[in-house]
């Protein structure tokens, strides 16, 4: 699973039939854990009613499909939790603190 922030929503009329009625969210992964996620953004199917601006947990691969109650959706990422609070260990300074979208929001400081 990876941690990120919802930064947008995707609209698509022409799509694989299994995606009908599903919300597609653009996620910006946080990079302050190692190894950092390889991409600057990813798109995940919403399973919990997340909205733009919220921090979320995204699960990848087969568990992503299962979290949507199916194994027959051609997707590989699903939002499976909305984050209320994040606490980072005191040694976090040893890891890259770069955010994709700028500096860390205040509530993430411990």
């Amino acid at each position: 699973m990876i941690l990120g922030r919802v930064v947008g929503e995707v609209w698509a009329t022409k799509k694989h039939a299994a995606l009908d009625g599903r919300k597609l969210l653009v996620i910006e992964p946080y990079l302050w854990y190692a190894p950092s996620h390889e991409v600057a953004h990813l798109v995940a199917v919403d399973a919990v009613g997340a909205g733009v601006g919220e921090d979320v947990v995204v699960c990848m691969g087969d568990p992503a499909r299962r979290s949507l109650g199916t194994t027959s959706m051609p997707i590989e990422a699903a939002v499976c939790a909305i984050v209320d609070k994040i606490e980072l260990a005191a040694d976090r300074g040893a890891r890259p603190l770069t955010f994709v979208g700028g500096t860390a929001p205040a509530h993430e400081a411990v």
Binding site: V7, G8, E9, V10, W11, A12, T13, K14, K15, H16, A18, L19, L24, V26, V39, A40, H41, L42, V43, A44, V52, G53, G61, D62, R65, S72, M73, P74, I75, E76, A77
Partner: protein, 82 residues
């Protein structure tokens, strides 16, 4: 899944059997990264698309005989990013 834009297409007279009649498009992710994905939705050059990756994705969309793991699963109308 990743967002990208179709920047070209690929032809190959000699190809793996599973790729007969397949439409292969080059998709750029906006940061210089490129991937070749198979298209069954009718995407064209300049279209913004959503690309999914993986064996299971491939099996569910284009069949397990296709020797490619990136598939275009949506043609994007727009992205709301306030």
């Amino acid at each position: 899944m990743r967002l990208g834009r179709v920047v070209g297409s690929v032809w190959g007279a000699k190809h793996a059997d599973g790729l007969d009649g397949a439409k292969l498009l080059v998709v750029e992710d906006g940061r210089g990264g490129r991937v070749t994905a198979i298209d069954r939705l009718g995407a064209g050059e300049g279209d913004r698309v959503l690309v999914a990756h993986g064996t299971r994705v491939r099996d569910l969309t284009v069949g397990e005989t296709v020797a490619l793991k990136d598939v275009i699963i949506a043609i994007v109308d727009g992205v709301d990013a306030p």
